[in-house]
């Protein structure tokens, strides 16, 4: 049993390693192109844990935030968006290649978060608005 289980992380790693190779050439199976997080940032949990459990973390945290008023805790959707927003769109789910959208489209899992929450990054939204205002004659 243990021997079988020990394959699991290797398998998962292999799957996501091929995802990284997508840019090098056409692979046998289609894989999501995952955009890197903002440079110089560290995730709140290891990548393997986040890949598997991010939805659980966010779900537990949301009840504490909405009902208990506890904000700024370890797992926060705003925190995710700030680091993972695309450099191009400033968003995690506006364009098909954005961080959340690319993987969720690949896994065929609907994201409901952004029906209500904004997928756009806070700081960059402000910066984009400022640059747009400056760009106007």
């Amino acid at each position: 049993m243990r021997r079988v289980l020990s394959f699991l992380p290797t398998l998962a790693l292999a799957m996501f390693a091929t995802a990284g190779m997508a840019a090098d050439g056409p692979a046998r199976t289609p894989v999501p192109a995952i955009e890197k997080a903002a440079a110089g940032t560290t995730c709140v949990a290891p990548t393997e844990v986040m890949r598997r459990d991010h939805m659980k973390f966010l779900k537990h945290q949301r009840d504490d935030t909405v009902h208990g008023g506890i904000r700024g805790a370890k797992f926060s959707l705003k925190g995710c968006i700030d680091c993972h927003a695309s450099a191009r769109t400033g968003s995690v789910a506006s364009a098909p290649g954005d961080f959340c959208a690319s993987c969720h489209a690949y896994a065929a899992v609907t994201i409901d978060c952004f029906e209500c929450h904004t997928p756009k990054m806070r700081a960059r939204t402000a910066a984009l608005a400022a640059s747009a205002a400056q760009g106007k004659p």
Partner: protein
């Protein structure tokens, strides 16, 4: 129970207990690739609020506090809608075009029939101590926080609009259209009921301790009217509770005994 004579094997209870104890620092590795995340999370539900390791969380809703508003209708200028537009800007609400569009705060013009006195006042969610909207909500989406703020949890709201019928102040609105470009602090979407949140994101960020206020009160002060005062009704030293103690204030529809947190002067 371990029977005497058996070799000491850790019981399931002891194992899970130990797992839960170490859970505060992260997930527990049961076997390669399998982690006991649920146990880890169950062990530390309040680690954030208790200032657990690595937590930078703010403490959350304080049950000793009762947030409220005192609205002086003698200072409220007829025709002025600064509080309404400030609320709209703060929460990213659209300009209302139809009768069914959302409004978290609205201005009402009043006239006393006997004396002819005219005035105006803003009406928003009254943040009742005994909120009828919470009583009728079938899913528990409508709830009252520990500090007296009445909110809608949009994760649970099914959009039945029962709370809108129950509210005697017409304070709640239903979002009929898809929403885009929400503010990060004010998530909102189609199919849910919503109302004034008493700027709960400001409360939770600790702005109120530094003399901060709600968006409407801030705008009213900025416009030079100073008709809206925000504060803690439970704190005997706060300005709002001192003024409520000195001057007779009224609440809207006191006969319903829902004990609103919004008080009015000069009605």
């Amino acid at each position: 129970m371990n029977t005497p004579g058996t070799p000491s094997r850790p019981s399931r209870r002891a194992f899970l207990g130990a797992a839960a104890a170490t859970g505060a620092t992260g997930a527990v590795l049961l076997a390669p690739g399998i982690q006991l995340v649920e146990v880890a999370q169950a062990a530390a539900p309040n680690a954030a609020s208790a200032g657990g390791p690595g937590a930078t969380a703010l403490p959350g809703a304080n049950p000793r506090v009762r947030w409220g508003l005192l609205i002086d209708t003698t200072k409220c200028a007829p025709g002025c809608t600064d509080c309404v537009s400030a609320c709209r800007t703060e929460h990213g609400l659209p300009e209302p075009k139809r009768r069914t569009d959302v409004q978290w705060i609205r201005k009402i013009e009043i006239k006393a029939i006997d004396t002819g006195r005219q005035g105006s006042l803003p009406v928003m969610c009254q943040h009742c101590a005994k909120p009828p909207c919470v009583d009728v909500c079938p899913t528990g989406a409508s709830f009252k926080r520990a500090d007296g703020v009445v909110l809608v949890d949009r994760h649970l709201c099914i959009g039945c609009r029962y709370c809108m019928m129950a509210c005697p102040y017409k304070a709640r609105s239903f979002v009929h259209e898809p929403v885009t470009d929400q503010k990060p602090d004010a998530p909102r979407g189609m199919g849910c009921v919503e109302s004034c949140t008493l700027c709960v994101h400001r409360i939770d960020a600790g702005h109120m301790a530094g003399g901060g206020s709600t968006a409407c009160a801030e705008a009213c002060t900025k416009a030079g009217h100073g008709a809206i005062l925000f504060g803690d009704l439970n704190d005997p030293h706060s300005e709002i509770s001192r003024r409520v103690k000195e001057i007779r204030s009224t609440v809207l529809r006191a006969d319903l005994r829902v004990e609103p947190g919004v008080h009015y002067l000069g009605l």
